[in-house]
């Protein structure tokens, strides 16, 4: 094994994965091209747009600003995992109901970032929602519908707890 290609072992959406990756492969390219998990999108490739947002060891990160080799031993969750487990089912429904997406390119990253805020509990203000999603570009909706959807889910989850 050279230092240009390394063996890594990690879990992706709960499944154990062992692969040899090029050192220069970013996490999002590894997920998309190595594992065919194409829900994480590649937008700007320099950390600005947020379309590649995934969860590593429970925290959201930019999939384009981490190397796959850095995820050796990590627990990675993508939109496929968040979706299959039902963790974001209510967010997905609210996005659909409120037209919080048009082309959908930003949606996987937007859902991951929104869920990162909502899983902290409580009902964030619209300002807090906007701030938390400030690292995720949407070029279609103008954001209002997205903030509406996230706010509605926060209120519904808080209501459901009472």
């Amino acid at each position: 094994m050279s230092d240009h290609a390394l063996d890594i072992s990690l879990t992706v959406n709960g499944e154990r994965v062992q692969e040899r990756v090029d050192a220069r492969t970013t996490l999002v390219d590894f997920l998309r091209e190595g594992l065919a998990l194409t829900g994480s999108h590649v937008g700007c490739e320099h950390g600005v747009c947020g379309a590649c947002t995934v969860r590593v060891n429970g925290e959201i990160v930019r999939g384009c600003l981490m190397l796959a080799v850095q995820c050796d031993g990590a627990k990675v969750e993508t939109i496929e995992g968040l979706s299959d487990s039902g963790e974001v089912a209510d967010l997905q429904a609210a996005f659909e109901q409120r037209n919080a997406l048009q082309c959908g390119y930003c949606t996987p990253g937007m859902l991951a970032a929104a869920q990162d805020l909502l899983r902290r509990g409580g009902v964030p203000s619209r300002h807090e929602i906007r701030e938390h999603l400030s690292g995720n570009y949407c070029r279609c909706t103008g954001y209002h519908a997205i903030v509406d959807a996230v706010e509605a889910v926060a209120q519904a989850r808080a209501g459901a707890k009472k």
Binding site: H46, E59, L65, Q70, G135
Partner: protein, 278 residues
């Protein structure tokens, strides 16, 4: 775009990282939130990346002998949540929410941000405003570099090629310390069009030891000593009039707009400095 090929090694110790830095075109990989972007754009094409993320004992945040010491690998999100930072380094606490976005702050490190020395970044200006220092570890051991001697120019610091920034130290706040922070960016979390980090000591109704460090207005954080002197007598208008700043045009704004915005920020920050703070 995709990065050019490079070799990758995970350093198992600080000594190993320092030794590996002696190899040709080697770069340290800390949080990677600027470095990997430049790799993707092929603005940077090192032969070897030395990943220091696994090193232990480099991410502590503690108060030691009147100073707050922050390990270089402490992540922004960690500092944002830290009670020690909130209580003893309030300027850094105020700056933290402006640094990138949550996903960026989860990875980016304080040491990386300072070593990278982006002229529009918040932390180099905070370090300068606080008269802080860094600890660098190299082949000959450790040395301390004061903030005023650290930032040499555009993305350029006094760190030697084989030195690793290992800790950041700023004076711990006391009851007379006043801090202020304000920043204008096109989108929350983006690099500043203009930003200002400041510290001072309350001295009756006026201020002493005023330190105003602007960012986004030059090749490195810039102090404005005439405005500092004017602000010491608590005269905000005089401080704005004395603003000795000569920004260049950049992709975000013209020099004229930046100069105007610098005055706007000075008024905001001056108010913060003159308010009673805990």
């Amino acid at each position: 775009m995709k990065p050019a090929p490079f070799a990758y090694k995970k350093a198992r110790s600080l000594d190993e990282a320092v030794a590996l830095l002696g190899e040709k075109d080697a770069r340290l990989l800390a949080g990677g939130q600027s470095l990997i972007a430049t790799l993707n754009m092929r603005l940077s094409a090192p032969n070897l990346l030395i990943d220091i993320n696994g090193l232990t004992n480099l991410d502590g945040i503690s108060v030691k002998g009147g100073a707050v010491e922050i390990g270089a690998l402490a992540r922004h999100a960690q500092a944002e949540r830290s009670d020690v930072i909130a209580k003893h380094a309030p300027l850094i606490a105020r700056a933290m929410p402006h640094i990138g976005h949550p996903a960026i702050r989860n990875r980016g490190t304080l040491g990386g941000s300072i070593a990278f020395a982006d002229p529009a970044a918040e932390l180099p200006a905070c370090l300068l405003a606080l008269d802080g220092e860094i600890e660098a570890t190299g082949p000959k051991g450790k040395r301390t570099i004061k903030a005023q001697d650290l930032f040499k120019g555009l993305f350029e610091t006094a760190l030697a090629p084989q030195e690793v920034l290992t800790a950041i130290r700023v004076p711990a706040a006391n009851k007379d310390m006043r801090v202020g922070f304000a920043e204008l960016a096109r989108r929350h979390g983006d690099y500043a069009i203009v930003g200002l980090a400041a510290s001072a000591r309350a001295d009756g109704k006026s201020l002493a030891d005023v330190r105003l460090a602007y960012f986004g207005v030059g090749n490195a954080p810039v102090r404005v000593k005439k405005a500092e002197t004017a602000l010491a007598s608590a005269d905000i208008d005089a401080a704005v009039a004395a603003l000795d700043l000569d920004p260049n045009d950049d992709v975000q704004a013209t020099a004229k707009v930046k100069k105007h915005l610098a005055g706007v920020l000075l008024r905001r920050v001056a108010k913060q400095l003159l308010e009673a703070q805990p």
